[in-house]
């Protein structure tokens, strides 16, 4: 549905995006992640036809955004980050205006506006001026405008950043529902949000795609390298020594001791689950355990590792395992 093929974009001497490629298929929600300056917004602007790529191409439902710009743009619903709308217009007036821009016929227009108002829970404020609304409502107005013409592709830049928890849950459900017959690209800084909403994540750094993978693959690969946390009764040196003796444990560090209990962190070789062995080793040494767990990996950790690796550190194991090659087309 959305095909991005080796697009690059420079602003003067700054290479904002370099040879980025990916696809977003119908029925798929793809999260676009990256630190500020990673090239997300430039990539999104090329997909929506706001910026032309210097090289490469972007197509929406087969329509090239340069050669068939109007046809391509007609097939994209776009929510820009700040959800801009004309402050002096009423909510339904603004939606009607957007529907006219998309050349919707009068009869269709009325129905589309009503549907959008209902889906985005805006019926109560339909006659209010956009400028009088809270940021959360304005964001919903932007989302309503994006889905108004029932486009096959949706590009949402930070769609939930101004919403309260209840609205976030509703927006998440709406995005999932919309994805049933659309290709959805969501840019977000709220990583748990992406984790729960997206089928796939694309992580950008330095203007290139670093990872293109499913969230569970990314997290799963990270889980293999996750450290263990153990709390056992005994002095720190004994607990640490007994745990370090377990085959596969590479390193231990003491987190702290209190009231006879010691808490340590163990780092093991990836690909092994050492919990049973650690428990057996400590209890056989007469040190009862009251906690043994692995630190839960999250997309946030993958993201942070990738950002750090983009700054010069070696790439993390999670970035490689389970992920598609950097910059490769999906």
């Amino acid at each position: 549905m959305i095909q991005v093929r080796s697009v690059s974009k420079s602003f003067g001497r700054v290479n904002a995006v370099s040879r980025v490629s990916f696809d977003v298929a119908r029925g798929e929600v793809v999260g676009l992640l990256g630190a500020n300056g990673a090239g997300k917004t430039t990539t999104i602007r090329m997909i929506t036809g706001f910026l032309p790529p210097d090289t490469g191409s972007v197509a929406v439902e087969g329509f090239d955004t340069l050669r068939a710009g109007e046809s391509a743009r007609a097939r994209v619903g776009y929510l820009p980050e700040a959800a801009p709308a004309y402050a002096e217009m009423s909510v339904e007036g603004y939606l009607d205006y957007r529907a006219r821009l998309f050349s919707m016929k009068r009869g269709d227009r009325r129905g589309a506006v009503e549907r959008s108002l209902t889906r985005c829970d805006l019926a109560a404020v339909r006659r209010r001026r956009v400028g009088q609304l809270s940021r959360g409502f304005r964001q919903r107005v932007g989302l309503a405008a994006a889905i108004l013409h029932d486009p096959p592709a949706l590009v949402l830049d930070e769609p939930t950043s101004a919403l309260d928890p209840r609205q976030i849950r509703e927006a998440r459900a709406l995005i999932r529902a919309l994805a049933a017959d659309k290709a959805v690209l969501v840019s977000s800084h709220i990583l748990p949000e992406v984790e729960q909403t997206c089928d796939r994540v694309i992580i950008m750094a330095g203007g290139t795609v670093r990872v293109d993978a499913k969230p569970r693959d990314l997290i799963g690969s990270l889980r293999e390298a996750s450290p263990y946390v153990v709390e056992a009764r005994g002095p720190a040196d004994r607990v640490s020594k007994a745990a370090a003796a377990v085959a596969g444990v590479e390193r231990t560090e003491v987190i702290g001791s209190a009231e006879g209990w010691t808490r340590i962190r163990l780092f093991g070789r990836s690909g092994q689950d050492l919990r049973a062995a650690i428990a057996a080793a400590l209890t056989s040494e007469g040190m009862p355990i009251r906690e043994l767990t692995r630190e839960a990996p999250s997309l946030e950790r993958v993201f942070l590792q990738l950002i750090e690796s983009a700054d010069g550190a070696p790439p993390p194991p999670a970035a490689a395992a389970g992920a598609r090659p950097t910059g490769a087309a999906a």
Binding site: G49, S71, P80, E88, M89, L101, S103
Partner: protein
């Protein structure tokens, strides 16, 4: 051109939803009202020449007040991105914004049509309608020309104040540079070639002809082509914004 009228009508209506729109209309009606009050004297000539003549100068400030928000406001508020990612082209955006501004100017002029009606009611002999109609045509053409020029400057900045001030100052400079005193060499000595060039683009004598009721096709073409020229430059400025 798809979407141009949609953009134009939105733009036109938006002027009446913001204070600057109402202030512009109120100021224009107040100023022309003062001029008209001085026309309405017993024994005076029943003519709109004063109102239309002064309107040319009022437009130097009022047209920039209209044009300043046409594109600068879109850039500032971020709505430009939403507009340009809808299936309308730069031509439609340029044309729509301009038409919206022209519609507003016409709406601003419309209440002053009451003045000729008053003159028709109270004057004996009745005033000649030809110069009035031509005068209004000249005023609309001049307003469109100023708007197109102001829109070009509005397309270059996201700061409305800067767009207003630069348009106003350049229009004042234009009117001074093409005034009879400058062209005739009375104010500052200028080379004859430059004087001829300035005379060719001077709006004053053309508007004088309109005010006299002379409908010269050359004058109409002058204003229309000058307007088209600045609209084309605005279109180029928007395209460059996309590509730079």
């Amino acid at each position: 051109m798809r979407g141009a009228w949609t953009i134009a009508f939105r733009e036109f209506r938006s002027f009446f939803r913001v204070p600057v729109g109402w202030l512009t209309v109120a100021l224009y009606l107040f100023l022309t009202g003062v001029v008209f009050a001085n026309v309405l004297v017993p024994g005076g000539t029943a003519t709109m020449r004063d109102v239309l003549g002064w309107s040319q100068f009022f437009l130097m400030a009022l047209a920039p007040a209209v044009s300043m928000r046409l594109l600068s406001e879109e850039f500032r508020s971020g709505t430009y991105e939403a507009l340009m990612t809808s299936p309308v082209g730069d031509v439609s955006v340029t044309a729509g914004k301009f038409l919206g501004g022209v519609l507003f100017l016409k709406a601003m002029f419309a209440p002053t049509l009451l003045y000729p009606l008053i003159l028709l009611a109270v004057s004996d002999p009745r005033p000649d309608l030809g110069p009035m109609v031509c005068g209004y045509l000249g005023l609309v053409l001049l307003g469109a020309f100023y708007l197109a020029f102001g829109m070009l400057l509005s397309s270059l900045t996201s700061n409305q104040t800067l767009a207003f001030v630069s348009t106003f100052l350049l229009l004042v400079l234009y009117r001074v540079a093409t005034s009879e005193r400058v062209i005739g060499g009375g104010l500052v000595p200028i080379p004859p070639g430059l004087a001829r060039a300035l005379a060719a683009v001077a709006p004053g004598p053309r508007l004088d002809d309109f005010a006299k009721g002379l409908l010269d096709l050359a004058h109409i073409v002058f204003f229309l082509s000058a307007t088209a020229w600045f609209l084309m430059l605005t279109f180029v400025a928007l395209e460059m914004r996309r590509w730079r």
